[in-house]
Subunit: 316 residues, 2 copies
């Protein structure tokens, strides 16, 4: 469930554009007005605002926001405003350009979006970067990371509920054998995790747990410093229990010395319209403090207000 709050009566895209243009005019920027509008419009409403703004003022809204805003607040607004596919294409491209490709971001996009939404990201990537998503990821990664990440981003998983229990049992057995032999980069492990439907994987991993006594992620924690194993565990978590994965990402971002604003902004902007309600519940269960209080304690100013608005704090 989303936390985004949209007012009962939404102004027209023309009115919203005009207000935003006013927020940029005169002395200083009216950040409160920007939050009041953009943090309370859904993806299709924001898309219309962007189109209307560009047609009316001859400038892209994102460019205007880029000029007016700064630091963490700027990043939150610029990540939030685009439609999800364009936002994800941007995040994935940014991740591939980092010195060591930010593998968690790429995996998150590949594993927590619906099959169709992931395909829209690939289309948006073509349109913006004149290349394919998998081409950039394959080019900028290597070894086991590439073997896992490329099939994850190119997957178009079946999304029905059907489960083949015979298959689940035989694949659970295979996973257990290879993990016991410490062959965690085994081709078959990667094949199973990157091609099976989420329903089928769930059945396989439940059977694994029942049959072999441990959750698979426990068995994959033999070396806490092994980066590939960490990515494998995160992949499994994203595929089977994304709310828990995101709650943990938020916890690590907030509890870090100095706050990891990049992770915090990314999770809030990408999940506010999807499952942030469930993430908040998971967060509170695990940390005994509500997410909004944790965010308020760690951030300030317009950035704080933007994040809190997106996670459903206050009225709209």
């Amino acid at each position: 469930m989303a936390t985004l709050k949209v007012p009962a009566s939404v102004p027209s895209p023309a009115e919203d554009s005009e207000q935003l243009h006013k927020a940029f005019s005169g002395w200083g920027t009216n950040e409160a007005l920007i939050i009041q509008i953009l943090a309370h419009r859904n993806a299709s409403q924001r898309k219309l605002i962007q189109e209307t703004y560009a047609a009316t003022y001859g400038e892209e809204l994102l460019k205007a926001l880029d000029k007016e805003l700064s630091s963490d607040f700027e990043r939150a607004v610029l990540l939030w405003t685009p439609v999800p596919a364009e936002r994800d294409a941007f995040l994935a491209n940014e991740a591939t350009k980092m010195l060591t490709a930010n593998k968690l971001v790429i995996m998150e996009i590949a594993c927590t979006r619906s099959s169709h939404d992931l395909f829209l990201v690939r289309q948006a990537y073509h349109a913006r970067y004149k290349k394919s998503l998998e081409e950039d990821i394959a080019h900028h990664t290597s070894g086991d990371f590439r073997k896992l990440l490329v099939p994850l981003v190119t997957a178009f998983r079946y999304e029905g509920d059907e489960v083949n229990m015979t298959l689940a049992k035989s694949e659970a057995k295979h996973l257990h054998e290879k993990i016991s032999e410490k062959c965690c980069n085994d081709e078959e492990i990667i094949r199973i995790l990157t091609t099976r439907s989420k329903a089928q994987l769930n059945a396989t991993l439940n059977h694994y747990n029942n049959q072999f006594g441990n959750a698979i992620n426990k068995d994959l924690k033999t070396d806490p410093k092994d980066e590939y194993l960490a990515l494998l565990r995160a992949t499994i978590k994203c595929l089977t229990y994304p709310e828990k994965y995101f709650a943990k990402t938020l916890r690590l971002a907030i509890n870090k010395l100095g706050t990891d604003e990049w992770a915090l902004t990314r999770v809030v902007t990408t999940r506010a319209e999807v499952d942030m309600q469930r993430i908040k519940e998971e967060y509170q269960r695990r940390n005994s403090v509500p997410l909004d209080r944790a965010i308020a304690g760690d951030t300030s100013g317009d950035y704080e207000k933007m994040l809190l608005s997106l996670i459903g704090h206050g009225d709209c």
Copy 2:
């Protein structure tokens, strides 16, 4: 260019359905009427006929055809009638179910359809088989074949004309090094062939030819019996010169002792609406005999009439 001939004035889907229904009624089947209608309607017209037929007579048209027809003619009509995405999903599924997955068919579908059309095949596969295409292919292949086929079918290649010549040169060099070392299953070779756009690959392979004196496929012909090398060469041919690949497939199918009707039917039905005109030119250039004469010499009856109609023989 397509060879399919559609009459200037096409009857309504209701009239076509009625005529088809008549062709099935009474003593014997009117095969000529079936050819006259179905072999002269494009994909969207055939789709409408199927929908209208099912709505009017309470039976799927493909089921009715299946009951009425037999042998090679039946297969040609059943492969031709569905829209391309459904036909390809069927062909790919059939290929994965063969004892040794028919790798050429899978590769052909992955490499000669547009990125968008390949995605439509993956959607049609979900709908019909309740599984993903890559899941079945990964499950039924192994080793080097899997390493090549899975990224081929999951690719969503960029289709713009932009070419990066620096990249083309460095990737051509890499291809040449690995092929010289006889490492033809090298990860980077597979990455380049499975992720780059066709325009970019073309530049890379042209540079390879100019710089190293041989076309890449010549260098990949070290062992004519090596099945993986044969698949690699066919992949490169399909990505860069599909008409030539299909002309050769037709030549092998026709010249074979006993004719390979499966290959012949597949190429004619999948290309008649795409590039059969160019394939016919390539065929004649290489064999000094027109394709229609070669087909007429090797086939007979309704099967012959169906194939010849699809490759543009006679009036409609």
